[in-house]
Symmetry: D2
């Protein structure tokens, strides 16, 4: 269960070898994350919603999506590392919270409204 | 090394139990991801860049950041699942590519320019 | 044709009266913009794509969307002001460029592919 | 004071001439907006916060930023048009609300905390 920690360590080492840690303050990393999320959004913007899964089953499209999602994950683990956050643990905690907040019987088939 | 796959399976099961899979087309999931990235950005927006790490060392702030990052990760693994993408593998591939694209000696201390 | 300039001046004055100009460096303003775009995205995330226009014809939903779009515009004009960019002029220039890049006969009914 | 309405009409006509209205459902437009915000974020990500204004005073950098901000505005007015929202009016209403919510004497020099 050390996959996210391993990835975090690899990205940290990558940054250190290039002396790029100086650029990795939290605000800059969030902006970099936003940049990658933007590239991910562009892949899907004009695809009809109902066709998206099928269109991205094509190997080249799937590879493009995978690459953008990877970029998002890399900046996310880097940000967590800089902030001293255990991202895998945070995700498990969040999911446990969601189980409590959204009992399956109460919200069955109902999208949670955003405040 | 199955942590991301385990998280993916847990989020899938959570969605299935609530009959929420119907809402999880790729475009909707990217929008949900954007929503969480927006909440993450808001935490940092008015914090001076140089103070961000120190300010988020406070337990309540760190917990808030951890929660928003967890939300981003949860939607990211869900999107990867829906698209049939192995996110952990994609991140390792991407990092290997980055090692090739950015030889440490060439880019030492120089932030990569965006096109 | 001074509407954007008038809005820009009003937001600048609002910021000056509160001594908030100190917070409005470009990176912070982009993060604030991202936060508002995230709130806009959340409004639409679980709405079926084909129903979105109709659902947001309801006055309260339309007002929520209008408010989030207004927030995006306010931070956008503030950012342009801080950078010394004439946003209205930039939009007109961009639209003229798009007329040249996308001749109507060439792209009729075809969504432009993103690189 | 018809500048935003004029821009809205120009973007609508541009879309109609290319038969692109079919792609402009709200979710797709929000994703397109996110893509442009991502490009804007990338311009600033590795620039030290304190140097951003000066660095973007260089004509080519300013032009790049102007172009990305223009793209954001174009998709924003297009989204407002599709939703039947008067964006200029919404911004003026929002600013009037902000005057009430944040009395200058109460918040002088204090960045508003996000909930």
């Amino acid at each position: 269960m050390a996959e996210i920690a391993d990835l975090t360590a690899a990205v940290r080492e990558f940054s250190r070898e290039r002396d790029w840690e100086q650029f990795h303050d939290p605000k800059s990393l969030v902006l970099a994350l936003v940049g990658e999320v933007g590239e991910l959004a562009e892949l899907f913007q004009w695809v009809p919603a109902a066709d998206a899964v099928e269109r991205f089953a094509a190997p080249d499209r799937r590879a493009r999506a995978a690459e953008e999602m990877a970029d998002v994950l890399v900046y996310l683990v880097r940000l967590a590392d800089v902030l001293g956050v255990d991202l895998g643990e945070a995700a498990r905690t969040k999911l446990a919270d969601s189980h409590r907040r959204f009992p399956a019987d109460d919200v069955h088939g109902v999208a949670p409204d955003k405040p």
